[in-house]
Amino acid sequence: MLSYILRRIVATLPVMAIVALFVFSLLYIAPGDPAVVIAGDQASPEDVERIRQSLGLDRPFLIQFGSWVWRLLHGDLGTSIFTNLPVSTLIGQRLGPTLSLMVITLLLTIVVAVPLGVVAAWKAGSFIDRAIMGFAVFGFSLPVFVVGYVLAYVFALQLEWLPVQGYTPLNQGFWPWLQNLILPAIALGCVYIALVARITRAAMLEVLQQDYIRTAKAKGLGQGGILFIHALKNAAVPIVTVIGIGIALLIGGAVVTESVFAIPGLGRLTIDAILRRDYPVIQGIVLLFSFVYVLVNLMIDVTYTLVDPRIRY
């Protein structure tokens, strides 16, 4: 297993290199020019050209790419064109809020979606099942920003229980940290909860029809034991898969959620960087996301072996 994990980690390096080359090439050929944005609307073409030169944007593609790779190999993600700050600093500033939001959303999803899916499967065909699946369809259909606005309206403006926006680091207290994340996590988690609940129900229904479940019932085992010990463990592979894949959804959803709730996370940094053509920042974030995605896939594969002993690598 250890050698498998090491092999997978080593295999991420060429994947990331290809992603890096792809992203760099894409940005190079894409229209738009950071020098134009920097110079402002009233700047002359000569001013814009001077800024391009000072940023090295007038150099040939291969030189720019080579220079970037060289710095990367030395652990340097480069410097933001706009802020003049290291990309690693910018990502470091934004990592905390995004990670916090994703962790809370993930926990919320597992705590809410898995039991809902199990109960729906257990009560398949009943009103409860239909209500849960109806909720799932509803949650799946609503855009994140609509849920976000409604939550902010009800819980922040009407009830005044929670703040509308912002982020407080965890080192300033657990509650201040959590209270800023509750509404965004619910908004972001709605689609995710719906997805996981539906997959859990489908997987559980399949397992509940197996002979060993019938045997367990015949032995007189309680419903809880049957559902959460025997059935859920055997239905876990597709659930784990969809939770893992969902992390990619979270990254995409975080862009909108961070904007609606003014959370200074990586999602907002990405959008800002793209709109300004801040190439080093975009490249740094894409590399980070690629790495995270590869790691998540690895963790899913490893988790398979834990929930299903028949799987070996």
Binding site: Q42, L85, Y149, E160, P163, Q165, V260, A262
Partner: protein
């Protein structure tokens, strides 16, 4: 359902709820009355007001760096860091003396050598600075508090150049910082102004913090725009970037922020209904909407085609697309200069007045030789102002019988593409949309868009000898009457040659909570004199 609809609906509902008495302090509220939380118009993505000239950078820089002179609300330059100035009778030697007691944020005194270095860096990037540089004989420090600017010919607008509020302003930095190449960004933000930049708390794209500089020596006069006593009455000003207008509106209602620089028109009724919030016009100098036509290629290389567009266009259509039904926010503009300012004129603007004549415009367009070739119209749809104007223009051109190649893209792309002088079919363009701050259109000095000197002009590269002649006349004018006469002739020449198409004059609101006082109208948010109670 789109995002804007949801935003309006929910914000409207929240407004009703709040006017119903649900405006008690939120759990999240509780920041100190010594901290003013402000939502700026845009993200402060960099912080060098000479290198990057976006308005938001200029606005933040006005807190951190002081200027030698500052324009007041009457648009008159007033002494700021300067104690006195002398100019020789021939108008060619200016000698300035700094006020005593001026300090930088690192405790060092402000000296003439700092001023000289700062002016050199500024002059390399500013249009008026470049004019000064072109006629400069020497700019030297005479002693610690005196410096001298010797010119080869008189420059009557010297004090205005040093006082103006359009970007880049002549901010005074320490010599070691000001010696940075003007095309490279500074990373040391030691300033001369009333507030210090808290570098360690800067999260670009999210938050910028300014702290009161206790050693700042304000002037004794009453503050007026960039002039007078810049008294800071709070300890901290926090700029909180909020890209989503609905979030900013909700945060203002909830008391999580104190001042929102420019609420969008859709949400203003909600804010006006809230008993805890003041809403008023932010900048009386407003903005001038515009689209520019490319003088280099058909059809707009022919003045008849440009005039045809002006004859057919309705400024009301443009303005309603921008500001909706609020008639207090716009006015027609048959000219190029900012309404309500001393040089405003409508001379020669008849083509934009009265009933629109589509038939006559079509006839004139045909006379220009237009034969149905595609007209490439660039529109930055990530900016609500340009998007709204672009939609109106597309409709206008179609009504005129033109074949519109509507390129809806983002500002970064429009900004890069508009600089191309290649033909429209080869990556170039025929027209693009933008707007100008009214503060930049009060006279020709900061008004890049009105220049019509061909290759050296702004994008579109208009050529109009009459316009350029009157720009020179204005610079040489000895008094206000001469200036007004020159600007009248300039306006007519620019309108005859259609240097660009003004789409109207529009204003925008600013909103702040009622426990904040001292907010004034101006071309940028002024924080001096602003205080807050708990």
């Amino acid at each position: 359902m789109d995002r804007r609809t949801v935003l309006k609906g929910l914000a409207g509902a929240s407004g009703l709820a709040l006017t119903g008495g649900l405006s008690a302090p939120a759990i999240a509220q509780g920041a100190s009355a010594r901290t003013l939380r402000f939502v700026p118009q845009a993200n402060l993505a960099n912080f060098d007001p000479i290198w990057g000239t976006q308005y938001v950078v200029r606005n933040a820089a006005a807190l951190v760096w002081d200027t030698l002179y500052g324009v007041d609300s009457s648009l008159v330059p007033q002494r700021q860091m300067v104690e006195s100035e002398e100019v020789t009778d021939d108008g060619m030697t200016w000698t300035f003396k700094l006020r005593s007691g001026l300090k930088f944020h690192d405790g060092e005194p402000v000296l003439s050598k700092d001023v000289v270095a700062s002016l050199n860096r500024w002059a390399a990037r500013d249009p008026m600075g470049l004019m000064l540089k072109a006629i400069q004989q020497e700019l030297t420090a005479v002693d610690d508090r005196t410096f001298k600017w010797v010119l080869k010919q008189p420059f009557p607008k010297m004090l205005y150049a040093l006082a103006k509020n359009n970007s880049p302003c002549a901010f005074i930095m320490p010599e070691r910082i000001a010696q940075t190449d003007p095309f490279k960004q500074i990373s040391d933000y030691v300033g001369s102004g009333p507030m210090k930049f808290a570098t360690g708390e800067w999260v670009p794209g999210a938050k910028a913090v300014f702290e009161k500089f206790t050693d700042y020596a304000p002037r004794q006069e009453k503050a007026s725009w960039l002039a007078g006593g810049k008294q800071i009455l709070v300890d901290r000003v926090e700029w909180v970037v909020m890209p989503d207008p609905a979030t900013a509106a909700a945060a203002l209602q909830n008391g999580e922020i104190d001042w929102w620089e420019n609420p969008i028109a859709d949400l203003v009724p909600v804010l006006k209904n809230n008993k805890n919030i003041n809403v008023d016009i932010g900048d009386p100098l407003g903005n001038i909407g515009s689209f520019r036509m490319n003088f280099l290629y058909p059809p707009f290389n022919d003045v008849r085609a440009r005039r045809a567009v002006l004859m057919a266009m309705s400024q009301e259509d443009y303005m309603r697309a921008l500001v909706g039904d609020d008639d207090t926010l716009w006015k027609p503009l048959p000219g190029f200069f900012t309404p309500g300012t001393p040089l405003y004129t409508e001379m020669g603007g008849e083509i934009l007045m009265g009933k629109r004549d589509l038939d006559a415009a079509k006839k004139l367009l045909a006379e220009s030789g237009y034969s149905g070739q595609p007209v490439t119209c660039l529109v930055a749809q990530d900016q609500p102002i340009t998007k709204a104007m672009g939609d109106v223009t597309a409709d206008l051109l179609k009504k005129l019988g033109m074949n519109v190649d509507f390129v809806a893209t983002d500002w970064g792309t429009v900004g890069a593409r508009r600089a191309l002088k290649t033909p429209p079919g080869q990556g170039g363009w025929n027209m693009f949309h933008t707007w100008h701050a009214g503060a930049d259109c009060i006279n020709p000095a900061p008004y890049t868009a009105i220049r019509a000197n061909g290759d050296k002009a702004w994008f579109g590269w208009p050529t109009s000898a009459g316009t350029e002649k009157e720009v020179t006349s204005w610079f040489e004018a000895k008094n206000l009457d001469e200036e007004k006469a020159a600007i009248g002739r300039l306006n007519k020449a620019a309108m005859d040659d259609v240097v660009y198409a003004p789409t109207g004059f529009f204003l925008s609101y600013t909103a702040w909570r009622k426990n904040v006082s001292g907010v004034t109208k101006g071309p940028l948010p002024f924080f001096w004199g602003v205080s807050k109670t708990a």
